[in-house]
Symmetry: C2
Amino acid sequence: MPVISEVTIRRTRREDVGVIVAMLADDPLGGARERIEDPLPRSYFTAFEQLARDPNILLVVAEDGEGAVVGCLQLCILPGLSSQGASRGLIEDVRVASHCRSRGIGEQMVQWAVERLGFARSHVGMTLRF
Amino acid sequence: MPVISEVTIRRTRREDVGVIVAMLADDPLGGARERIEDPLPRSYFTAFEQLARDPNILLVVAEDGEGAVVGCLQLCILPGLSSQGASRGLIEDVRVASHCRSRGIGEQMVQWAVERLGFARSHVGMTLRF
């Protein structure tokens, strides 16, 4: 049985951007489209500021017991007319640091996002389809 | 060869909501989840007001030569950290009135959305993958 690592999910801060970008770059697709430089390209921080201002987007990280960032997830709420005007939830950019994979961290982050959506008050309630 | 109907794409107005909801309801999935009543449930108008206020969402309709609404499409811009902080475009809720299908109207709307994304200025440019 793999070891399950309990993580804490919290809102992303500006100083987490570097760790998140490193995780985004750490797979074959991301390796080709990110730019890991020191300092990081300004475009990442411009995007972070845009995300932080957007009331429909929540970018979070997962912290391990020592406070190290080991995962990230972006939750988007999309208003729309269909389903009687219900908003939809969209989960994007889920990543777990390569040395922490297969310990249930991604599952905890997605579970957190699903519960967050479930608790969001809506005029018609939220429907989750799997 | 089917007849191609040229349409005009314009931003949705409050008085279009009823026609859009009728199109959303006009397929097996939508028929089960929309509520066509007179007057329409208030939740549709609440959602419309939310869409109209959101700078990252553009809900448009396609008008035929007589000014009748024959299609709809929702374009969402999603900021994010990946791809060097590039925003993503998301196309949702594309519908064409049942009596106007197979005339290239959906294609014109999607083409409009793709061009709109292409013209959006970005610090890294936009990438479209098909």
